[in-house]
Amino acid sequence: MSTTATTAVSERDITPGRGSLSAETGPARAWRWLREHAVNIAAVLVVIYLLIPIAVIFIFSFNNPAGRYNFTWVGFTLSHWSHPFANTELTEAMLTSIRLALLATVVSTIVGTMMAIALVRHKFVGRRIANFLIVIPMATPEVVMGASLLSFFLVLGTPALGFTTLLIAHVMFCISFVVVVVRSRLIGFDRSLEEAAKDLGAGPFTTFRLITFPLILPGIFGAAMLAFALSIDDFVISNFNSGTTVTFPLYIFGAAQRGIPVEVYVVAMILFFVTVAAMGFATWQQRRAERMTSIRPEQEEADIVLPGIA
């Protein structure tokens, strides 16, 4: 005990700006521990802060509210979890959302991947303009995008507002994000593998099919996941261009005025768990792909989150 005390004292002695030489009392030691771990404590608190609303959603999916609103805790019930799809209106909206998100994902992923390949692999006149065209939708407030697209459909008078206009809108705002994600994968790509294929006599198409495509596949998969998540969660742009079609977020917004059924929380939680599982699968796939190749893994994570600004 005494030896540790002396080392502690001598350590403090050479560290500038630390307190007196008197033996540390309990509170003082606690204070020092707090000061040394302040950042870690702050970080843990922020993590808790990030997770609290998710916990609230989970807990309130078991609530048995007295009225039509699910905002205060009344009592525990499993009935909403045992019949999550009892509310046909809600289920219908959810199915529309999934259908829309799947279609928007497929179209935007194909179109966006093609653009990313052109931007990274080809030199052409107008590259700067193409890059600008991709960045600018990401820097535009959603309300402006939704409103302008509605103006467009109204002035043209066609197509009628509904599923088609929703699909057009969703593909539009997903493309940029797909391009950014796939592009970062292509940039962190070992070109020597392609050259080796070429040296071994593979034509450009064969090289693409057997080398390039499998290597950027995790990036494409990640981009598709992002597009799906953006589409299924979109409210603002959809609210402008939906006509009478109802998606999951639109249903919630409409319901918020007349009372929110608990099933909304249950479906939100199911969506959460499915997404987490898909994320886990994607990460596992990516790790496997990285083990097989020499792609620099840190690069892309950094680029995904800096769309067009870095």
Binding site: L51, P53, A118, I168, A256, V305
Partner: protein, 288 residues
């Protein structure tokens, strides 16, 4: 020569579908909206004709200047709060988390997996009058009236929470790129922990700060879900106004004018901000 030409036409071919989609459904709609913002309604018909009616802008701004200014104030405060809250977390994930790193990154993106609107509804519960949070705030004098919901405070709280991941991720990305040896060198040269942070770590992370504040601020200014669910009649933001002018009142000219001013002001703010902070941020990147 022939192959070069073929390669170039291949590039345009790959580019064409996406470019067309963005031009037709993003650029041209903006043009239509610009035109609509200068139109005058033929009285009582809901039909418009083009008249260079700049008065639309003047009238819309005179009517809704409070909501306009409020949006920028709310978004500004929320962005600042996000920066303060996100920095320690991003710092710990980048330098101290070790094997907890993936789990902490997961916690950052986890809110995205719950629906945006449901997340905001959860805040309605958290900030309701019966909630312990409200009671604590009331006890320490931060909520003198005893309720938080339907105040500007609730709206800012909602925006801060909803856009926090957009701040954490770029901050983490730029902190993670810092060469740890630079920080060690600073320590070896007898810099205290705080001066290492202020003189080395923070300047090197400035690109992340710039990216994060932009990614938070831009969607926050245009947001109207938080104001709709968590705010009262006195907390409406410009997004609420544009939405209701468009979808409820069918006053397309005023709504288009407001949308354009919103976009223009955001562009100007972003431009000034990048000129002001960007040069330093770039220098920070060069120093690595």
């Amino acid at each position: 020569m022939a192959t070069a030409l073929r390669r170039r036409s291949l590039a345009y071919l790959l580019l064409a579908p996406g470019t067309l989609w963005l031009v037709i459904f993003f650029v041209i709609p903006l043009y239509f909206m610009a035109k609509l913002s200068l139109d005058t309604e033929i009285p009582g018909t809901l039909h418009y004709h083009f008249t260079w009616a700049w008065s639309n802008y003047k009238e819309a701004l005179q009517l809704y200047d409070t909501q306009f200014v409020r949006s920028f104030i709310y978004a500004g405060i929320a962005t600042l709060l996000c920066l303060i809250i996100a920095y320690p977390l991003a710092y710990v994930i980048a330098f101290k988390a070790g094997r907890w790193r993936s789990l902490m990154l997961f916690a950052v993106v986890a809110p995205f997996f719950t629906t945006y609107l449901v997340r905001t509804l959860a805040w309605k519960t958290i900030l309701s009058n019966e909630s312990p949070i409200t009671e604590i705030f009331h006890a320490i004098g931060l909520a003198p009236s005893g309720h938080i919901l339907y105040t500007g405070f609730a709206v800012i709280a909602g925006i801060t929470y909803n856009f926090l991941p957009f701040m954490v991720l770029p901050l983490y990305a730029s902190l993670e790129r810092i060469d740890v040896r630079v920080l060690e060198a600073s320590k070896d040269l007898y810099a205290s922990a705080s001066s290492t942070f202020w003189k080395v770590t923070l300047p090197l992370s400035l690109p992340g700060v710039v990216a994060g504040t932009l990614l938070t601020f831009i969607p926050a200014v245009g947001d109207y879900v938080n104001a709709e669910f968590l705010g009262g009649a006195n907390n409406r933001m410009i997004g609420n106004v544009i939405q209701s002018l468009y979808l409820t009142q069918s006053n397309y000219s005023a709504a288009s004018a407001l949308s354009f001013v919103l976009m223009a002001v955001i562009m100007i703010v972003v431009f000034i901000y990048i000129r002001f902070a960007g040069s330093e941020a770039l220098m920070g990147q060069e120093a690595v």
